[in-house]
Symmetry: C2
Subunit: 219 residues, 2 copies
Amino acid sequence: MASLAEENYLKAIYKLHEKKGAMVNTSALAETLQINAASVTDFIKKMAAKKLISYEKSRGVMLTERGRHIALNIIRKHRLWEVWLVNNLGFKWDEVHEIAEQLEHVVSDELIESLDKHLGYPKADPHGDLIPDAKGRFAKTSSKPLLDCEKGNRVKFTGVAEHSNSFLQYLTKSNIKLGDELLVEAIEEFDKSFQVKINGKERKLLSKDVVKNLLVVLL
Amino acid sequence: MASLAEENYLKAIYKLHEKKGAMVNTSALAETLQINAASVTDFIKKMAAKKLISYEKSRGVMLTERGRHIALNIIRKHRLWEVWLVNNLGFKWDEVHEIAEQLEHVVSDELIESLDKHLGYPKADPHGDLIPDAKGRFAKTSSKPLLDCEKGNRVKFTGVAEHSNSFLQYLTKSNIKLGDELLVEAIEEFDKSFQVKINGKERKLLSKDVVKNLLVVLL
DNA sequence: ATACATAATTAGGCTTACCTAATTATAATT
DNA sequence: AATTATAATTAGGTAAGCCTAATTATGTAT
């Protein structure tokens, strides 16, 4: 139904909406899709005509129910493929994004449901991002940035809020993995750096830029 | 490098050449790709300009070394994905073609090599078609149509020469699977139908249309 | 050798998804 | 309120891949 370009626009709109809330404007879309703003204006008018999004001229766009449904399906596929690449093919969590960007556009409901089953119906991808079910519903979670925790909290590291290769590779290098238990031993008021103990063993100092991108749940 | 359309043209040219030998003509390509002959003429001129094929006006086309290499890579990917779909995801051999037609265009050498390894470096796909290696080389095989065998021959069923769903489903229904041992008990001169014993148990009558599409190796 | 059928090509057009340059809205600043 | 900066839109254009209709090659049969 939706073309490759439409799928990419829908996904970008979904993610920008998720991050910034409210309407998504032309320049933000142009930036994330690496497409000229004039082309974006053009394209969103056509998408609005197809009822994939609602468009208020010079104001921005929002997903319709239909658009949201398609976006969530792409995200579902992307994350399932990432799980497969990491768990079954041995890729690292910083190596799977580009490949999943291609695989997410393969069209076959039977394939995706078989893959989901094959993987054991995972709830999250290798970065801890939740995987919506076939109807677009997410499991509930109470994760929050480590930055919002207090001294003495014991938490589990469940996801990242930043997906850049440099951040993922920093964590790998620092031997901090999804599922690790973190104990907040001290918080430096001045720069919001955190001293944490990892899995009751190693002690590490994490900068504010790091702790704001570590998502955790209280234990 | 090669676009989706180019990849499909290259694959079609490879397969038509394999089947008919010599040059591939415009109308055959148009027929298999389900594209108008005028469009094909247009497109092959552009592909020739890119040295993917050599083109003799009004005569037909042939793959260049580069074009052949790309075609074999697509075929390699297609067949590896088919193995995965059948062996790991539980699809039937008549259900995988359309999905593999999409997956074959995903671009990532690391992915394909990892997949190959994950699958245990299979030599053939679920229909018995040989899988070329990364350099485009096939394992040698001495398979031939069952039709060319003689009374008394004991053979192993290793592949099909016809990939239509109706033929694949006929075999499934008849409980004839890749790897089965067939004993030629009798050949009816009049209509070339074969009486065979399967795995030393069940006895079956197979029409000429069936035996010419069963590929076997002598035991 | 000529006529006919079939195959291939040329010419002109269309849609999708992009572009640049010019213009118009909107928001921010004085 | 007027100016300025930024964002968005409009207008006109391009390349890739397709189309139909008309024309030209090629091969076959008389």
